[in-house]
Symmetry: C2
Amino acid sequence: MSEKRQDLIDTAIELFAEHGFHATGIDRIAEVAGVSKKTLYHHFRSKEELILAALKHHDGLFRNFLMKSVDQLSDSPYERLLGIFDVAQAWFSGKDFYGCMFINAIGEYSHGDTAIRRACQDFKTQVSAYVEQLAVSAQIDNPKALADSLSILLEGAIVTAQVAGNAESAGTAKRAAKVLIDSALDHNVETV
Amino acid sequence: MSEKRQDLIDTAIELFAEHGFHATGIDRIAEVAGVSKKTLYHHFRSKEELILAALKHHDGLFRNFLMKSVDQLSDSPYERLLGIFDVAQAWFSGKDFYGCMFINAIGEYSHGDTAIRRACQDFKTQVSAYVEQLAVSAQIDNPKALADSLSILLEGAIVTAQVAGNAESAGTAKRAAKVLIDSALDHNVETV
DNA sequence: TGGCAAGTAAACAGATCTGTTTACCTGATG
DNA sequence: CATCAGGTAAACAGATCTGTTTACTTGCCA
């Protein structure tokens, strides 16, 4: 039964999110996961490998959550673009919100580890690609440009909520996003 | 000569920025600052106190740098609002750019320490107040709303640059900021 | 000149970190 | 039944962490 591996990853994600990466020891993860240290090192060669596995797994979970939630909010691509920030608001309001795990990871490993940085870049790239796909569906001219702007708004809303300790920034970002989207659509009309 | 205190703070800021807070030991800071450990503990009761002193000092330095740079770019309040993102671009392009120290601090201490969190909130509040003051000068209706939006864009640009490892996000954020500012000014005209 | 503030270097205490090793247990399968 | 993969518990190694202590040095100034 190698569900132990998954238990370790799940536990690692929780502890890393709540306490940070350096502040979370291997012993603690093994203890909370209810797994011996030897088994942990059987599944992961090092702490870094566990961090990478945790980031990768969280990447999948989070993007799935985001896309599913947004898609359920509305069928309209326009509303879906805005819906990103409604989903963000719900996320920020959860009691287990400790900011974006990838941003936090970069903060601790911005210097050294290339693998960890790359995992964070992959995540961001794929979220941005999803936003761009929505922008394409909304028939926006230059969807990549809008996706880049909205992604920056989203990142900003995340860290602002994390620092402030409340979800207000989601609403602010949503209003700003509406202005940007409408402006992009106006531009379409003008240039058609 | 209590310039030792300042040496320690300066060194701490550099090492914390580059390597993170947990990953930077007291011994290392003392060694790099060229100061004995005992002297370090003479000036600061604990590592946390040194972190707080470093954050507070960096707060002053950074806001001074931001305001001075922006004010020098132009006399026009409109151009100054946009100039924030030009200053950001220059900042991101520097070889010692490791993201925002306060965002990184929150990432490592989002859970525990109230004092560190408060230092980060103070910083953010004061930067936002500066942006709002520029918005007031630009005679924008509801300057607080615009300042909140631009602050979120700025935060987003910072973390995006940090993850990507390049300064592109500053340009993207600037273009988005222009749309938001122009929209706010249009709204002024309509409602006058 | 005498004393004191401020510093250094280095050992120490005790905790905690990553990672390894040893000895034992348990349950499924050939 | 015997074996063996997969697990546990716990000690261990060696490094590093925060913070303290001891003993010595240096420069200022009354």
